[in-house]
Amino acid sequence: MGTVSITLNHFSAATVFALFASIVFGITHRETTREMVKYGLYCFAMFLGGALVAGWAMWLLRR
């Protein structure tokens, strides 16, 4: 696939990763549709929020 090239910045890459991982987690870890959606949203928040928190924590350490 030499002709197709995509560049994502760090935040976009984190968001895309969180989105698709959360969809899979939601579907595979819960039984009902409502629970799947709820857990998927929770996972998305944890993935993205965790990345943001970790980033700021590293910034603090670097200071």
């Binding site: 696939m1 760090h10 890459a13 895309v16 990763f17 899979v24 039984e31």
Partner: protein, 138 residues
């Protein structure tokens, strides 16, 4: 000691080895989400297919590297195991010699990880398809 008639010990139901319990994981490995589709979980199957395939293809488009079974260091082997989870996508990629980037920049590194994670997510998806097949999940 009298036998307890109220003994409530339960034995776990034996897993039924059915055709579907073998077919669903196998098909699900080859085509992400297909293990759910053949069991008529249409929306779940399509969402799993879209998520895993998109993540893998994005990884390729970001010039990520695909690992092969070349017996390199432990991280290379782990990467190979992760990539292998993508099944048909991995086969397609290696046959066409894609994913041979040198990971020279950050985006390519993310791409490499995207493909590994896509494979690992497919392993989870396969397990879910198996649980549906044996009746452990609806």
């Amino acid at each position: 000691m009298a036998n307890s008639t109220t003994d409530k010990t339960k034995t776990a139901p034996a897993e039924s080895i059915s055709v579907m319990s073998v077919l669903a994981p196998a098909v699900g490995w080859l085509i992400p989400g297909a293990g759910h589709l053949i069991q008529r979980r249409w929306i779940r199957g399509l969402l799993l297919f879209a998520s895993i395939v998109t993540l893998f293809l994005l990884g390729l488009a970001m010039q990520g590297r695909i690992y092969r079974a070349n017996g390199g260091d432990i991280l290379d082997m782990l990467g190979f195991v992760g990539d292998l989870g993508a099944g048909g996508l991995y086969i397609l990629t290696t046959v066409n010699d894609w994913g041979q980037g040198a990971i020279a920049f950050a985006t390519a590194d993310y791409g490499t990880k995207f493909m590994i994670v896509a494979g690992l997510l497919n392993f989870i998806s396969i397990a879910d398809a198996y649980h549906i097949a044996i009746g452990k999940k609806q």
